[in-house]
């Protein structure tokens, strides 16, 4: 009987369309921030200030949404800052992201509970139904906040999850209601243009107050990031996740600006009960200001708005408790927090211990802190979290941009995420003017998290498969302050090609040598099977060692999913000063200028790079060094000088004058030859006038034995797809060649971190 080995896998059914996940984001965003933010923003910044607050916050939120959109499209099944941080910076940073996400979501939940309480208590007080209670309004609000938070903690314990398909229609309802309020505001102005006078004075306290109002209302723009967690259930996630995030931020911003406008024009100056100018009157109610203004805008406005706020804050409260619990559960599951955080109730199948701790944060913040401190604490933590995501998108694009399959990439990279980082930093700092408490709570939470990581999580966490791992490492000589040269060995033939040059450079630099072989393991193969692929590389390492034993030497064999990424990681870890690697002479894909590994190493290596093509055991009597960008040409001359000493060769430094200007070659040469290992007596200069630098270099190089070429100086944090003179020459030249790229200064320092 034939054995039928059928593999059955289970996964969630994909049922959430673009509409559903957009509504998911909208539902989370339209929670509380706008309802309590409008009144306070008008109070602090005036009528024009509230409009500018929401418009500018929308732009900043969109910048981060672009980062989330790009990351979610590339990594759709592992959504969230926790996983993005893990992929970009490792476990320590991912713990910090998860830790911050837990607190941020919990405090946002507190805010939604407080918002629900404020509007509910306000409504029932307005109806005269709460007079019998012996407590103040503030106490009533806190009691209601406690009760509603406890209720939803219980709901989550029982197993109610995020909204899904039914919740989308609730969100649609409350969104349409807010759109209706916005439109009503415009209609009122059309009917009574004198209402526009409510906008003056536009900025009664100046422009600086807007930074404060932007800070504490920023929480109104958090929520779209939960769309990243819907990757497993969304239809066509690579396409729909980024769209949903961007649509939700745009829609919410337009709604907020319209609703803020309606709020300002809803109150007629001099109407009964309105003391002072309309904006001052609205602002005097602070958190309730929005409610008071809308109650004057339309019949039953008070009731309808209270209903909208109740639905909005409850659905957001439910979702944030779920999201906050999931964040701490994930930390427990990965053993970054004690194991009991990942305990699942046998009866309810919910992470009940994570829920208890989350509930502790939600309730204590909701009950103990003033509303503005709650809003500010939530805002500041989300600002820090989004700061991390914006850095992660840059790092992941640089490290893994060639491996991941993107459904979307943002424009103006990396300037938009850098701009987002700066803007969020400014808002976070300015929040100290609003709430010193928030600025105490947030750093205390983060620092305590860092402490927990170092004293507990680091020693308990489980390893993950995505990391580059060492298979074999043998160190014959201990680490020292010596110049370090790493040689990337692919196989025995490649090793022999590089031996001679490696010996010369190592001797000249008095370097220790680290032989590295990266074992690329295909995606389908478990990393545990990596050793099957390493034999050829191991032979290459052994071959190279035979010739290099006179130097202090280390050998490393590592496995990885991507060779270039593995090499860069090794360069950073071992603090290498120079890497030597081979190149076969032709890119295998049109995407790359020289090759998939060589291109990335030239772009990202934080050290000197020396690429060898076709050198073997040849001797060289005539070496040509075209001079272009200063640091790279200087290194090219130095490498040429080392080889020339060995072979008693002549070096010709070659300049092409494209613009028919007189080149002061003596001055250039003077500067370049200040590098060590350059014997000026061996160097001659030659320059020609030509309209085509590539052709001029290729024509001149035909009569030389070796071409040593410095690469063109390139932008710092970008992948390059456009060609340059150096790469065009490298591809066309058929004889032995060395390509070099120099490190040094701030650029290398940045590359070590990124």
């Amino acid at each position: 009987m034939r054995e039928d080995k059928t593999h059955i896998s289970a996964e969630l059914s994909r049922e959430l369309s673009l509409f559903h996940i957009t509504m998911m984001g909208l539902g989370m965003m339209i929670g509380a921030g706008v309802f309590i933010g409008i009144g306070n923003a008008i109070y602090f910044a005036g009528p024009g200030g509230v409009l500018l607050t929401f418009a500018l916050n929308g732009v900043i939120a969109l910048l981060t949404a672009l980062s989330y959109a790009e990351l979610s499209s590339a990594i759709p099944r592992c959504g969230g800052a926790y996983n993005f941080a893990r992929l970009s910076f490792g476990r320590g940073t991912s713990f910090t992201a998860g830790w911050m996400e837990w607190f941020a979501s919990s405090v946002a939940g507190s805010l939604y509970a407080v918002t629900f309480a404020i509007y509910t208590v306000r409504y029932f007080e307005g109806l005269g139904l709460l007079g019998w209670l012996p407590f103040s309004t503030h106490t009533n609000e806190r009691m209601v906040a406690f009760l509603i938070a406890s209720f939803f903690l219980y709901i989550n314990y029982r197993g109610a999850s995020e909204m899904g398909k039914v919740g989308a229609f609730f969100t649609l309802g409350q969104t349409l209601f807010l759109i209706f309020i916005g439109l009503a505001g415009f209609v009122i102005v059309l009917m009574d243009p004198s209402r526009l006078q409510n906008l003056t004075p536009y900025l009664p306290y100046g422009w600086s107050k807007i930074l404060i109002t932007m800070g504490f209302t920023y929480v109104a723009f958090e929520g779209y990031e939960v769309i990243a967690q819907a990757g497993d259930e969304a239809i066509d996630p690579k396409r729909n996740l980024p769209k949903a995030m961007l649509y939700s931020v745009l829609i919410v911003t337009l709604i907020y600006v319209a609703v803020a406008f309606a709020s300002i024009v809803s109150v007629k100056a001099g109407a009964p009960g309105v003391v002072g100018s309309p904006w001052e009157w609205i602002g005097s109610f602070r958190e309730r200001g929005f409610g008071e203004s809308i109650s004057r805008l339309m019949p039953f406005g008070n009731f309808l708005l209270t209903l909208a706020v109740i639905f909005a804050s409850l659905s957001a409260l439910n979702a944030t408790i779920y999201s906050a619990t999931r964040a701490s559960y994930a930390l427990g599951r990965d053993r970054m927090l004690p194991r009991f955080f990942a305990s699942i109730s046998r009866k309810r199948k919910t992470p009940w211990i994570a829920l208890i701790f989350t509930g502790g944060i939600v309730i204590s913040v909701a009950v103990l802190l003033p509303t503005m401190d709650v809003a500010s604490s939530a805002s500041i933590m989300f600002l820090f979290l989004f700061f991390l995501v914006n850095i992660s998108v840059i790092k992941i694009r640089l490290d893994m941009g060639d491996e991941l399959s993107y459904g979307f990439i943002m424009p103006f990279f990396p300037w938009l995420p850098l701009l987002a980082i700066i803007c969020q930093g400014v808002l976070a700092v300015w929040l100290v003017n609003m709430s010193l408490t928030a600025w105490i709570i947030a750093p205390v939470w983060i620092i305590s998290g860092i402490g927990i990581y170092y004293f507990y999580s680091k020693s308990h966490t489980v390893t993950t498969e995505d990391e580059v791992c060492v298979i074999e490492e043998e160190e014959i000589a201990p680490e020292s302050e010596q110049y370090s040269i790493m040689v990337a060995v692919a196989n025995p033939y490649n090793a022999l090609e590089m031996i001679q040059t490696t010996c010369l450079l190592s001797e000249a630099k008095n370097a220790n040598v680290k032989l590295l072989h990266m074992v690329p393991v295909p995606e389908q193969v478990p990393l545990a099977d990596a050793e099957k692929f390493m034999m050829e590389g191991k032979e290459g390492i052994v071959e190279a060692m035979l010739y290099l034993l006179k130097f202090p030497i280390t050998t490393t064999i590592r496995y990885c999913r991507n060779i270039a990424r593995g090499i860069i990681s090794a360069l950073k870890e071992k603090k290498i000063d120079m890497i030597i690697m081979g190149w076969h002479g032709k890119p295998r894909s049109r995407l790359f200028r020289l090759g998939s590994t060589v291109d990335v190493v030239l772009e990202r290596a934080p050290c000197n790079v020396v690429i060898l093509k076709g050198l073997g055991n040849r001797t060289f009597k005539r070496i040509l060094v075209p001079l272009r960008s200063r640091p790279n040409s200087a290194l090219a001359l130095e490498v040429a000088g080392i080889l020339a000493e060995k072979y008693d060769a002549e070096i010709v430094s070659f300049l092409v004058n494209e613009k028919n200007r007189k080149i002061d070659s003596t001055k250039i040469f003077e500067i370049l030859s200040r590098r060590p290992n350059i014997n000026r007596t061996r160097i001659k200069t030659k320059h020609v006038d030509s309209h085509n630098t590539v052709e001029a270099i290729l024509k001149e190089a035909q009569s030389y034995d070796l071409l040593v070429l410095g690469t063109t100086r390139e932008p710092l944090i970008r992948q390059i797809t456009r060609d340059s003179v150096s790469y065009a020459v490298a591809r066309a030249y058929r004889k032995p060649m060395i390509i070099v790229k120099a490190s040094g200064g701030i650029r290398s320092w940045i590359k070590r971190w990124f």
Binding site: G48, A69, Y202, K243, D402, Y406, G407, I409, P411
Partner: protein, 52 residues
């Protein structure tokens, strides 16, 4: 009309306009990536540069 009103209105219009432009540009990019079956960031950037 006071200077702040003019500057503030311009800032709001430019901000919202910028957001609308970016979202529509992004939507077009997502569809192009999908249609041309592009994968890595390098491939996408190269195609976009070629289009220009």
């Amino acid at each position: 009309m006071p200077k702040n009103v003019i500057i503030g209105s311009i800032v709001i219009i430019v901000s919202l306009g910028f957001m609308i432009y970016i979202v529509f540009w992004s939507r077009k990019t997502i569809e192009n990536i999908r249609r041309k079956k592009l994968r890595s960031a390098r491939e996408i950037i190269k195609r976009m540069n070629e289009r220009r």
